[in-house]
């Protein structure tokens, strides 16, 4: 189970002068390489994981990704909460506003709703390869988002999230080594 902690993992902030980045941030909220996709991917892959190191790291990284999902949601919320309908429309969020108001919906930057088709849970070795690829793709997406805004707060917050992808990639790489040892012994 999970117990909610009433705080973010990182002190997210925005200057608030770049409403255009709000729409793009949806990429990492619920897009193909998003935090939501990562969390659900890792949680779904735990059941067939044969070694304790894998069960532990999938659980803990999935939990951290849920925290990142909340950070991205918070950035979007802080950016849009005081915007007028006209400003939202100019920032490409007219359709999102019409359908979801000021709530943060699980969609990608183009408005496509989240789908579990973004990830696979199959067998431990190929799962971990997918996880490493997912972390790299998320890192690349963060780099593109950072290049897409001038908001210092958004840039600083996304830079933290980008670094986390690198740490997770490292841990999954180590897990892959342990898994290969595990299967070689059998």
């Amino acid at each position: 189970m999970w117990i909610y902690e009433k705080k973010l993992q990182y002190p997210a902030w925005v200057e608030g002068n770049d409403l255009n980045i709000a729409k793009l941030l949806y990429a990492q909220y619920a897009g193909p390489d998003s935090e939501l996709g990562a969390a659900l991917r890792y949680l779904s892959q735990r059941y067939s994981m044969p070694i304790p190191e894998g069960r532990a790291v999938l659980t803990d990284i999935a939990t951290e990704e849920l925290g990142h999902f909340e950070i991205i949601g918070t950035l979007i919320h802080l950016l849009i909460k005081n915007a007028t309908v006209e400003e939202l429309q100019k920032a490409g969020l007219g359709a999102t506003y019409a359908q979801h108001g000021y709530d943060i919906y699980t969609q990608d930057a183009g408005g496509t709703p989240f789908t579990a088709a973004y990830f696979q849970a199959s067998d431990p070795i190929s799962d971990v390869y997918e996880d490493m690829a997912a972390e790299m793709k998320a890192k690349t997406t963060y780099e593109r988002l950072i290049r897409s805004t001038t908001d210092k707060g958004v840039i600083e917050t996304l830079s933290f999230l980008r670094e986390r992808e690198i740490v997770h990639f490292q841990r999954f790489g180590e897990l892959l080594g342990l898994l290969e040892e595990h299967y070689a012994k059998k």
Binding site: K7, Y10, A12, E70
Partner: protein
Amino acid sequence: MEINQNQALIRLMSLEFQVLEMALFLDIHKNDKQALATHTKYANELAMYKLDYQKKYGPITIEATMRDSWAWGDDPWPWDINFIGGIK
């Protein structure tokens, strides 16, 4: 200097983050004694700081005991706070 609630919250986040980072490392390197000692140090600091924080500013989890009234729903919620200027 007295620190305000946001600064205390940042301190809490930072301790929690150090515990998480050590946990992810130990998940894979579970026999690393030095990492285990570092985790213990941060985990003890975090537990104490979280107790103090909650006494002063209100519950971080529903497991916190609340003296006078049910304060769980009180503002601010995490998405309400804009940590302008970041960690500095």
